[in-house]
C-alpha cells in the first residue's frame, strides 16, 4: 500500500544519509479543509494520513476496533475516527474546534487545519484559515454547490487565501459521472467570480475510495488534471511570494544583554533585508541602516520573509516593541482610524464605543469599534443594517485607536493588517479584524492651541478642578448625595456644576436609550462634557448609574491624573428596590421596563473607588462631608 509519493522505504533502508539530505530541503504548506458535516472532510484527512503512513500499527488496531464499535462505514475502516479528537466530541460524532494534522510527502510537509461544519463554524474556520496558504473546499457530488459552499468560499476569500482547490468528493456515489462534475464546476465558477475568487482548481475525488488523491484514478479517465496531493506539492506558498514585497519587521523584542549590544528581534513580515540596507522605524520615522543580522550560527548576509531574526542598526535610535522597521524608501502608512471587517467571536455581543485591547503585529493598543456600517450575511453576502455584532457575525466598522500605529491593508500583509480584539475585563479574544484602509481623520483635524490655559481658568477660581463621579444602582441615593454635596461646596464659594443622569437625558443625550451600546455612549458624552468643564476650572459632580467598569475607567483615562474621584454609592439592591423612589423597580419587575440595571442588566461594582459610601450606615449629609474631606483637604 505504500505509495511512492510519500516515502521510499527502499531508500530509507539502503541510504538513510541521502534520504535525510533530500528531506532537509522539503518545503511546508499549510492548508485548511472546508466542508459541512457530511461532505467527507474528516474521511479525506484520515485518508491522507493513512496513505502517508502517518498511522502506526497500534493506532491502526485501535482504529479498526473503533470503526467496528462506533464507525459509520459498516465493517470498513472509518477514516473519520482518526481525526475526531476530544472524548465528548467522539460521542456526539462531531468535531467542535480547530484541529491541526500533520503529514509529509517526499517534497513537502503539510499542516492541515481541520474545522468542523456546524454553528460555531465561522469562528473556527476563520481561525483555521488565518494561517493557511491554501483552502480545499469540499463539495458532496450528490448535492452540488450549497449555501455552505458559498459561506466557506466567502470566508476563504475574506481571509485572503489565494489558492483554492474545489474538491468534488464522493464521486464514487455518482458513478464517476463527468456531467455531474462539469455542472458543479460551472455552478461554482459563476458564484466564485461574484465574491472575488478569480481562480480555482477543481478535482473530482473520492476520499473514501481513494480516487485522485495520490495519483490519477482509472475511474475518471475523462479528467486530465492533477490528483489532489501532487497538486498540493507544487503550489507556491505565501512566505515565498511575500519576499517580493517591501521589507517590514515588526519589532517583537529588544535584545539588550549589555550596554554595547542592542538588537531588534522579530519575524520578517515581508521582503528581504541585508546589512547596509537603509531603514525607517515607524511610527517615529527615524532612519538608519542595518548594521548586522545577528544569529546563533554567525552573522547572516540576508534574511527573508518568514524568518525570525535579530538586527542591529548603525545609529542609536529609539525603537521598542510594537514599532516596525521598514525599507526606508517604502515606509508603511501610520494612522489611528481605520475601516475594517470585524468577525465577532464571543458569546457577549460587541459593544460599539467600548474600548477593547487591539493586538496588531507586536503592539497592543486601546481601540474602539464604532456601530457597524453593515453586517454581512455570510450565506448570501447581502449587507444588512446592524447596531452590533453577535457571535459569528461579520460586519464592517470604523476602528479608532488611542494612538497612531503603523499598519498595512490586510490585502497587502496579513501580519500588519490582521488584528484581534481582547475584552479588557475578561481578557477573552472577542474578535478578529481585517484592516481595509485608513480613514484619514488624523491628517484633517488638528488641535488648535489656545492662549488661556486650563491652569489659568482654575487659578482665577482659586480652586483645583475635579470630577466627583458618583456611581451606583438606580435609587441608591446618588442624586440626593450629589445635591447635598453641591450645596455645601457652593456655601464654601466653590465653582461647581452638577451633571445629573436624568437631566442629561432630556437634552444632550435624548437620542440614547438603555441598551448596552447606548449606555456606553451616554457615559462617553458625559465624560467629554465633564472634561471640558474641568478645563474651564470647575468642580464637576456627576450622578449616573454608569454600570460598566470599562466606561468608568475610560472617563478616568480622559481626566488629568488625580482629578477623577470615583465614589461608589453602595446600596444593596434589596434596599434600593424597597425605596423605589421613582417606581422603576416595580416596572422592571413586571417586565414593562427592559435593560434595567440590577434586574436584567448587570451592575459592575467598582474595585478601587476612591470613596465608598455605605448608605445604610450614613446620611446624605455625612456622605457629602466625607467627599469634601477628600476633595478639599
Amino acid at each position: 500500500m505504500t505509495d511512492p509519493i510519500y516515502k521510499t522505504d527502499a531508500l530509507i533502508a539502503e541510504n538513510i544519509e541521502q534520504y535525510l539530505e533530500t528531506h532537509q530541503h522539503k518545503t511546508m504548506l499549510r492548508f485548511i479543509t472546508c466542508g459541512s458535516v457530511d461532505d467527507g472532510k474528516s474521511t479525506l484527512i484520515g485518508r491522507l494520513l493513512y496513505d502517508s503512513k502517518m498511522i502506526f500499527e497500534d493506532q491502526l488496531a485501535a482504529l479498526e476496533a473503533d470503526s467496528k464499535r462506533v464507525g459509520t462505514q459498516g465493517q470498513e475502516i472509518d477514516f473519520a475516527l482518526l481525526v475526531d479528537g476530544l472524548a465528548a466530541e467522539r460521542e456526539q460524532g462531531i468535531t467542535i474546534d480547530v484541529a491541526y494534522r500533520f503529514f509529509a510527502t517526499e517534497k513537502r510537509k503539510f499542516i492541515v487545519a481541520d474545522t468542523p461544519g456546524h454553528e460555531q463554524y465561522t469562528r473556527n474556520m476563520v481561525t483555521g484559515a488565518s494561517t493557511a496558504d491554501l483552502a480545499v473546499i469540499l463539495i458532496d457530488a450528490r448535492k452540488g454547490v450549497l449555501t455552505q459552499t458559498r459561506r466557506h468560499s466567502y470566508l476563504v476569500n475574506l481571509l485572503g487565501i489565494r489558492q483554492v482547490v474545489l474538491a468534488v468528493n464522493k464521486m464514487d456515489l455518482v458513478g464517476y459521472d463527468q456531467a455531474v462534475f462539469d455542472r458543479i464546476v460551472s455552478d461554482y465558477r459563476a458564484f466564485a467570480a461574484q465574491i472575488g475568487i478569480a481562480e480555482f482548481t477543481a478535482i473530482p475525488i473520492s476520499g473514501f475510495k481513494g480516487d485522485n488523491i495520490t495519483g490519477h484514478s482509472a475511474n475518471t479517465p475523462w479528467y486530465q488534471g492533477p490528483a489532489l496531493l501532487p497538486y498540493l506539492e507544487e503550489v507556491e506558498v505565501d512566505a515565498t511570494a511575500d519576499q517580493d514585497k517591501p521589507f517590514r519587521l515588526p519589532v517583537q523584542w529588544v535584545n539588550r544583554p549589555n550596554l554595547d549590544f542592542r538588537g531588534f528581534a522579530g519575524t520578517i513580515a515581508s521582503g528581504v533585508v541585508r546589512p547596509g540596507d537603509a531603514v525607517r522605524v515607524l511610527p517615529s520615522g527615524k532612519t538608519s541602516t542595518v548594521a548586522r543580522i545577528v544569529s546563533f550560527d554567525g552573522d547572516k548576509d540576508a534574511a527573508v520573509a518568514g524568518e525570525s531574526v535579530t538586527l542591529t542598526l548603525a545609529d542609536e535610535i529609539d525603537c521598542s516593541r510594537g514599532q516596525v522597521i521598514t525599507a526606508s524608501k517604502a515606509p508603511l502608512e501610520v494612522s489611528d482610524q481605520f475601516e475594517a471587517a470585524v468577525i465577532w467571536m464571543d458569546e457577549h455581543e460587541m459593544v460599539p464605543g467600548r474600548a477593547y485591547w487591539m493586538k496588531i503585529g507586536a503592539q497592543t493598543v486601546s481601540a474602539k469599534v464604532g456601530q457597524p456600517k453593515y453586517e454581512v450575511n455570510v450565506n448570501t453576502q447581502e449587507h444588512l443594517a446592524a447596531k452590533t455584532l453577535d457571535l459569528n457575525a461579520i460586519g464592517v466598522a470604523t476602528i479608532t485607536t488611542d494612538r497612531e500605529i503603523p499598519f498595512a491593508p490586510y490585502a497587502e500583509s496579513r501580519d500588519l493588517g490582521g488584528f484581534i480584539l481582547i475584552d479588557k475585563m475578561t481578557n477573552a479574544t472577542v474578535a478578529a479584524g481585517i484592516i481595509h484602509f485608513s480613514l484619514r481623520r488624523a491628517q484633517n483635524i488638528h488641535w488648535q492651541a489656545t492662549d488661556i490655559s486650563r491652569e489659568h481658568h482654575a487659578s482665577m477660581k482659586h480652586q483645583k478642578p475635579a470630577v466627583v463621579w458618583l456611581t451606583g444602582l438606580s435609587g441608591s441615593g446618588k442624586s440626593t448625595i450629589a445635591n447635598a454635596l453641591e450645596r455645601k461646596l457652593a456655601r464654601m464659594n466653590r465653582h461647581t456644576f452638577l451633571l445629573d443622569g436624568d437631566n442629561v437625558r432630556h437634552g444632550l443625550n435624548k437620542d440614547l436609550g438603555f441598551t448596552e451600546a447606548d449606555r456606553v455612549e451616554n457615559v462617553r458624552r458625559v465624560g467629554e462634557v465633564a472634561k471640558l468643564m474641568t478645563d474651564a476650572g470647575l468642580i464637576v459632580v456627576t450622578a449616573f448609574i454608569s454600570p460598566f467598569r470599562s466606561e468608568r475607567d475610560m472617563v478616568r483615562g480622559m481626566m488629568q491624573p488625580g482629578e477623577f474621584i470615583e465614589v461608589f454609592v453602595d446600596t444593596p439592591l434589596s434596599v434600593a428596590e424597597q425605596r423605589d423612589v421613582k417606581g422603576l423597580y416595580a416596572k422592571a419587575r413586571s417586565g414593562q421596563l427592559k435593560n434595567f440595571t440590577g434586574i436584567d442588566s448587570p451592575y459592575e461594582a467598582p474595585e478601587n473607588a476612591e470613596i465608598r459610601i455605605d448608605t445604610t450606615a450614613m446620611t446624605p449629609d455625612e456622605a457629602a462631608d466625607r467627599i469634601i474631606d477628600r476633595l478639599i483637604p
Binding site: G306, T310, T429
Partner: protein
C-alpha cells in the same frame, strides 16, 4: 526577486522562536519546563537561538520524580550550564515523605510527583507562563490544544473554553493567579524533531542510542534496570539486551525497544521504518483512549 525558499524546518524554527519571544515580552515571570528528553532539548536549543547573544531570559524548571534515568540527570545539569540558565529542580515534599514510587503506587506516582509537583512548583515560584515541549502530533486530543493554553487559578484546562488563535497573534493577557502553558513546538512532528537534532548537532541523552543495557521483560515492556531500587520479581534476572528508548521518562515506566541504531541517521531510519507509535512505550496512555485528555484537564502537562 525571491532569494530563497524556506524549508519546512526553517519555517518551524521561525515560528517557535516567535512564540518564545512573544512570551518573554508579555509574561511577567516565564519559566521553561525541562524534562531532559529530545523535545526539551530542541525547545532549549530554540530558546538559545531566540535570544542570542543574550541567554534566554527565564530559568529552567525540572519537576523531578527521583526516578528518572541516571543519564538524564547528568545531561540536565550540563545543558543548563551550557545555556547559561538557572536550573530549578522541584520535588513534591509529600511524595518524598510518603515514598511514592512507580513500583508500589501505579498512577499515583505520576499524579503526585508530576501533576501535583508541577502545580506546587508553579505556585511556589509564582510563574505565570510555563513553556512545555508537547507536540500536536503526539496524541489525538493534543491536535486541538492551543499554542497558548490558558489555565485557571487552580491550573485546570477547559477544552470547551479556549481562546481562538489567529495568525501569529497570541493573546497572553490574564488576571492575577491565572497562568498559561505555552507550547512552542506544537507544530513539529517526531520526524521533524529528529531531523532538527541531526542538522543542528543538538546533544541528547545517550539512552536514545542503542547499547547493551541490563533489562527485564515485564507486562509486555522491556524495562531497564537503571539502579538497585528496581525490585526484581521472583524468577527475574536482569539480562543484557541491545536496546534504546524512543521517549524518556521515569525508568520503571518507560519501555525500551530492541535496536542496533547507534547513530542519529540510524535512529531516524528505524523510526521511519517502524510500525508502532511513539507513545506506545509509555505505560501511562494505555488505560483508555481519552486518558491524556483527562490528565490534562487535571493539570498534567
Amino acid at each position: 526577486m525571491s532569494v530563497k525558499t524556506l524549508t519546512h524546518l526553517q519555517r518551524l524554527e521561525a515560528e517557535s522562536i516567535h512564540i518564545l519571544r512573544e512570551v518573554a515580552a508579555e509574561a511577567e515571570k516565564p519559566v521553561m519546563l525541562y524534562s531532559v528528553g529530545k523535545d526539551s532539548a530542541v525547545m532549549l536549543h530554540l530558546a538559545k537561538k531566540a535570544f542570542y547573544p543574550a541567554p534566554p531570559p527565564f530559568p529552567l524548571l525540572h519537576v523531578d520524580t527521583t526516578w528518572k534515568f541516571r543519564a538524564m540527570y547528568d545531561l540536565r545539569d550540563k545543558a543548563a550550564r551550557d545555556a547559561g540558565m538557572e536550573l530549578l529542580v522541584y520535588h513534591n515534599p509529600e511524595a518524598k515523605e510518603r515514598g511514592i514510587n512507580p513500583f508500589d503506587h501505579g498512577s499515583l506516582h505520576t499524579d503526585m510527583w508530576k501533576t501535583e509537583g508541577l502545580k506546587q512548583a508553579l505556585d511556589l515560584y509564582g510563574f505565570d507562563a510555563a513553556f512545555g515541549g508537547a507536540r500536536r502530533d503526539e496524541e489525538k486530543s493534543r491536535a486541538k490544544e492551543r499554542v497558548f493554553s490558558f489555565r485557571s487559578a487552580n491550573h485546570r484546562w477547559d477544552p470547551k473554553n479556549q481562546r481562538p488563535e489567529l495568525w501569529h497573534l497570541y493573546n497572553a493577557r490574564k488576571t492575577k493567579g491565572e497562568s498559561m502553558r505555552v507550547f512552542p513546538i506544537s507544530n513539529w512532528t517526531e520526524l521533524d524533531i529528529w531531523q532538527y537534532i541531526h542538522l543542528e548537532g543538538i546533544e541528547i541523552v545517550p539512552l536514545y542510542f542503542s547499547a547493551p543495557r541490563p533489562t527485564v521483560k515485564r507486562d509486555g515492556l522491556i524495562l531497564m534496570v537503571d539502579d538497585d531500587r528496581f525490585p526484581l520479581r521472583p524468577g527475574e534476572t536482569p539480562e543484557m539486551r541491545s536496546i534504546r528508548f524512543r521517549t524518556l521518562g521515569c525508568y520503571p515506566l518507560t519501555g525500551a525497544v530492541e535496536s542496533t541504531a547507534q547513530t542519529l541517521p540510524e535512529v531516524i531510519q528505524e523510526m521511519l521504518l517502524t510500525t508502532t507509535s511513539e507513545r506506545q512505550g509509555r505505560a501511562i496512555d494505555h488505560d483508555q483512549a481519552a486518558s491524556m485528555e483527562k490528565k490534562k484537564q487535571e493539570g498534567y502537562f
